[in-house]
């Protein structure tokens, strides 16, 4: 009965070592992930319910959630779109300097985020290389929510490209050719053949880019302007609370961030699972 309920417990592998690796996995995850996260909850629980609610729902805090999650979603969406194009170009075509471009994609991973923030702020400031072209048009990038969007797009880009690349590489060209032979237009091929196959991976990349953006601090504070109610991200509010020695209040905000992020990621994962099932089901019945 129990094996039916938990199919993952059934017949681990012909090779020995399941007990050891499983035990290691649980211990490692607990030490590195679960215990630190638990501490956040414990710190936050030192507040009584009324002060917890007050801490996480003041107008300034609510404005910061809207800003953080809104811009993270927007940046992840933009990354999903352009990341797809980048991955497509890198997988499907050869051109001089391809390896160089490929390596370039990972730079936002490696660069310390504060360096990214300072560099972006300098470039997009009204007197910066790029900012000066927008300034006469009345568009301010650095020190506004638009600047946050730029920073979050920058740090999220590798996630989409790197999750899509292997999927696109595995995707068989013959399927496109078959579609073309059957008279499909290019748009139809893209919509009905390519997109369904890569959509789960695209969603994974989107979710990763989004999750990273929500927690981002270093690159954002330098370019954000940090004006309460306007360009103040939740991570900054958490740091502000810590600097005022309000550890419980900071933990309370962290708990809310964790919960919202978790629910959103869960939703994206469910959607991804559903798409994958639908797609593989259709392919099976079609064949």
């Amino acid at each position: 009965m129990s094996t039916a309920l938990f199919p993952m417990w059934r017949k681990p592998s012909a090779l020995p070592g399941f007990g050891l690796t499983m035990g290691y996995t649980v211990a490692y995850l607990s030490l590195v992930v679960l215990v630190p996260l638990l501490m956040v909850f414990i710190k936050a629980s030192s507040l009584d319910w009324a002060s917890f609610v007050a801490a996480v729902s003041s107008p300034r805090v609510l404005a910061s959630y809207r800003l953080t999650f809104g811009i993270s979603l927007a940046a992840a969406t933009l990354n999903a779109f352009f990341g797809f194009i980048l991955a497509w170009v890198l997988v499907r075509y050869t051109f001089p300097g391809k390896r160089f471009v490929d390596a370039l994609i990972d730079l936002p991973f490696a660069l310390p985020t504060s360096v990214a923030g300072i560099v972006l702020a300098a470039i997009y400031a009204p007197n910066g290389w790029i900012g000066r072209w927008f300034e006469p048009l009345g568009i301010k990038i650095a020190f506004t929510p638009l600047g946050i969007f730029v920073a979050l797009t920058f740090i999220g880009l590798p996630f989409v490209v790197r999750t899509l690349q292997p999927v696109l590489e595995e995707f068989e060209r013959e399927q496109e050719e078959a579609a073309a032979c059957l008279g499909a237009t290019r748009w139809q091929t893209l919509r009905h053949v390519i997109l369904p196959a890569v959509l789960p991976a695209l969603l994974t990349g989107f979710a990763l880019a989004f999750a990273r953006a929500v927690g981002e601090y270093g690159s954002v504070i330098f370019i954000a302007g940090n004006i309460p109610m306007v360009s103040e991200i939740t991570s900054l509010l958490i740091i502000t609370k810590l600097e005022q020695y309000d550890f419980a209040g900071a933990a309370a905000l962290a708990v809310v961030m964790l919960l919202i992020s978790f629910v959103l990621l869960l939703l994206i994962n469910t959607l991804q699972w559903w798409l994958q099932r639908r797609h593989s089901g259709r392919r099976a019945s079609g064949a």
């Binding site: 702020a121 007197n127 740091i239 600097e243 020695y245």
Partner: protein, 318 residues
């Protein structure tokens, strides 16, 4: 040779706030030589800088600071509450443990194109002001209080008018950096803003370093006497065995040699003799103090900068 072998080799860590980088780089070198002479010990002093509140928190979290030299006494009080610094820290050194002072002035672009003369110009629509966040920066709290006191002490001034006044100023603030040095960078390097509210020493340093052809200092009619305090971190010096050196380090800030170094870095010396020597460097203006005009830091901190305090209200109340 034998004497040298017996002499101890110590290292001290000074956790300081933002615009003291140059001051302590200089002072530490001078102190190392001085201490070698009087005590025979070789001491190496390291310094760490950042927003005052952030620096206090790193010490609270276990940074092995032997001394702290921060932007406001509230930050050292917090260390005293945690038991790291003795409660009587402010009585252990002269002048409330603030060996040098400064004030808050206004830094504008060369030629003062917006014609900024005094605090009330900062509240006018269309002026872009740069100042850091008072929640994280000690300097920013002094900035805010200087503006507040200006409005409060006007003929017919009261608390409501002062609150409206600072609200109007912060409406003109486009970037709230977390520390004073960050705000200076925003104004000086990024070209943001018409006016930077700055520590006097930071403003004088900016003008000196970047050339007087780029910025002007505007001295307002009144400002605040900023008193950045210093203290030994008792718990850490006892653990490190560095109490003697740490005490000497802070005490040497008060005699003429130490005061001279402070004055060279544009801090206002406490010693009347050195102050006289550098008189021309410091403009004369009406200076209010937190103790005499606002009833002390504990009260001021709670009223203005605590969560839900007046600073929060100016951003959240419509």
């Amino acid at each position: 040779m034998t004497i040298q072998a017996q002499a101890a080799s110590l290292s001290l860590l000074n956790v300081s706030y933002d615009p003291t980088r140059e001051l302590y780089a200089d002072y530490n070198k001078a102190f190392e030589a001085h201490y070698k002479q009087v005590a025979g010990d070789t001491v190496t002093v390291k310094a760490s800088h950042g927003g005052s509140g952030k620096q206090a928190r790193t010490v609270l979290d276990g940074a092995p600071a032997d001394v702290v030299t921060l932007g406001i006494s509230a930050d050292i009080d917090e260390l005293a509450t945690a038991g790291l610094v003795n409660k009587d820290w402010q009585k252990r050194l002269p002048d409330n443990a603030t060996p040098y002072t400064s004030t808050i002035v206004l830094l504008v672009r060369k030629g003062n194109p917006k014609g900024i003369k005094d605090w009330n110009d900062l509240a006018k629509p269309g002026i872009s002001v740069v100042t850091p966040n008072p929640k994280t920066s000690a300097g920013a709290r002094w900035n805010y209080l200087a503006a507040w006191l200006y409005a409060l002490k006007q003929p017919g001034g009261n608390e409501q008018k002062a609150q409206d006044f600072v609200k109007a100023i912060y409406k003109n603030v486009g970037v709230l950096d977390s520390g004073a040095r960050g705000a200076t960078t925003t104004f000086v390097e990024r070209g943001i803003g018409d006016v930077l509210i700055a520590w006097e020493n930071e403003a004088l340093l900016s003008v000196k370093d970047l050339g007087p052809d780029k910025f002007d200092i505007v001295v307002p009619s009144s400002s605040i006497l900023t008193e950045p305090p210093v203290a030994i971190v008792d718990k850490n010096v006892d653990k490190h065995g560095t109490r003697k050196a740490a005490e000497a380090y802070l005490q040497w800030l008060y005699p003429p040699q130490g005061q001279e170094i402070a004055a060279k870095h544009f801090y206002r010396p406490r010693s009347p003799e050195i102050a006289k020597k550098y008189e021309s460097q410091y403009p004369k203006l009406k200076l209010y103090t937190v103790d005499a005009d606002l009833g002390g830091w504990t009260k001021t901190q709670a009223k203005h900068f605590a969560d839900g305090g007046i600073f929060d209200q100016i951003y959240t109340k419509k």
